[in-house]
Subunit: 229 residues, 2 copies
DNA sequence: ACCTGAACACCGTTCAAGT
DNA sequence: ACCTGAACACCGTTCAAGT
């Protein structure tokens, strides 16, 4: 098999230069930075992280291979922008889940977990850029870290709500949030990386229900409390 | 910055052709396949997944860039071999942890979790190849899947032992194992990807203890049972 | 049967030059 | 101020040819 699939190689300007449009494609793109991010997101979404090259994004935006360097220091910077967009999208999905959930604290907590796993399954390539080491120097991109922290905050707040209602035991809320995050993140990772195929043929939905139950109840042998969501 | 660091470019055979050795480097390597895997593992360990290129592995093994194709269909096949080695090493580490643990089922279960997180922290690059999508076609490499299943098996067995002792509640053992795996895997992933920096300045060790406790107890508000490891 | 050398189509990144 | 073209040192992969 040839390594690259004959790359279509759009004749430059063929799409940008409409017949009716008097001016041909301008020398200055005008809005290249957001255009490159859009192109990068689409590459990641449709063809995976490995298809995201600086040159491919430039081609998609209709500029030369060197043009991105006016707007991004290097490939890492573009990847960081993609990751940041991902965190904002995930935060939005989680907020939406909260908006449609009722007021019961445990229901809201559960809704966040479902939204997290749902986002991961809907956007597996993007979540690999958000987490993982595709972005080599995470600390070089503070706005990315802020976006990540904001989604973690949602989890912490939901757990605090459950604690106030006496539904989750007292204790360091952030520490409990790390446990919840680990569980939900680990499950998402195992699912999208196809790792759970080694486990009989249970459905992902059933396994997800088990995750939620075990996170709440733990594995220890004790009398079960009243029913929970 | 230049993208590649001047690549040392070992003069071919300089290391292979020892002065005392009468025969110069033979045309046939003789044992190329294992040599390539060794080279690949060292590249991953010392310089990360991105440094693992087929050409670099070939250079390290002292053969031409095309030689690996006699032994591996493509780069994916070499990556799969690296991932498989990783699972075998992790399984060995977990078995060793069991060997030095005492007979208490809960202690043994806990030891497995510590070994898992410990392996991930000691070999972050390798675990990214084992999980994750570096290996594009996991199902094309059945021995890799077998190696992964074997480590999962260890977890299932430990949980079954706890169930028999009445220390972990009854129920589908594999399902409970997926929860434990998710928790431990998620925590490992968040740690090695530097994601827990957004959580105050708790030590990883403290967070790990919290993970273990919350996995066993769950988050729900209930009277605590007798002390556990 | 196993390996090499040369080739091809890709990369990321730099830099002088264009508008 | 923003973009292009050409260049350089890398890739993965193929293929005819060597031993």
């Amino acid at each position: 098999m040839p390594p690259y699939t004959l790359g279509v190689r759009t004749p430059r300007g063929s799409a940008a230069r409409k017949p009716g449009r008097a001016k041909s494609r301008p020398y200055h793109h005008g809005n290249l930075r957001p255009a490159l991010i859009r192109a990068a997101l689409e590459l990641v979404r449709t063809r995976g992280v490995t298809a995201l090259t600086l040159r491919a994004a430039a081609r998609k935006a209709g500029v030369s291979q060197a043009a991105p360097y006016r707007h991004f220091a290097d490939k890492d910077a573009l990847l960081a922008a993609v990751a940041e967009e991902g965190f904002r999208a995930m935060e939005a999905a989680m907020r939406e889940a909260l908006a449609t959930a009722d007021d019961a604290p445990l229901v809201r907590f559960h809704a966040l977990g479902r939204a997290y796993v749902g986002f991961a399954r809907a956007h597996p390539s993007q979540i690999r850029v958000m987490f993982g080491r595709e972005v080599a120097n995470r600390s070089a991109h503070p706005t990315l870290q802020d976006a990540a922290a904001a989604t973690f905050r949602l989890l912490v707040d939901a757990i605090a709500g459950c604690q106030r209602a006496g539904l989750i035991r007292a204790g360091d809320t952030e520490e409990l949030a790390v446990s919840a995050w680990s569980m939900v993140h680990g499950f998402s990772a195992l699912v999208i990386d196809g790792q759970l195929d080694v486990v009989g043929d249970r459905s992902i939905t059933d396994l997800a229900a088990g995750i939620a139950r075990d996170l709440y109840l733990g594995l220890g042998e004790r009398p079960l409390p009243e029913p929970h969501p």
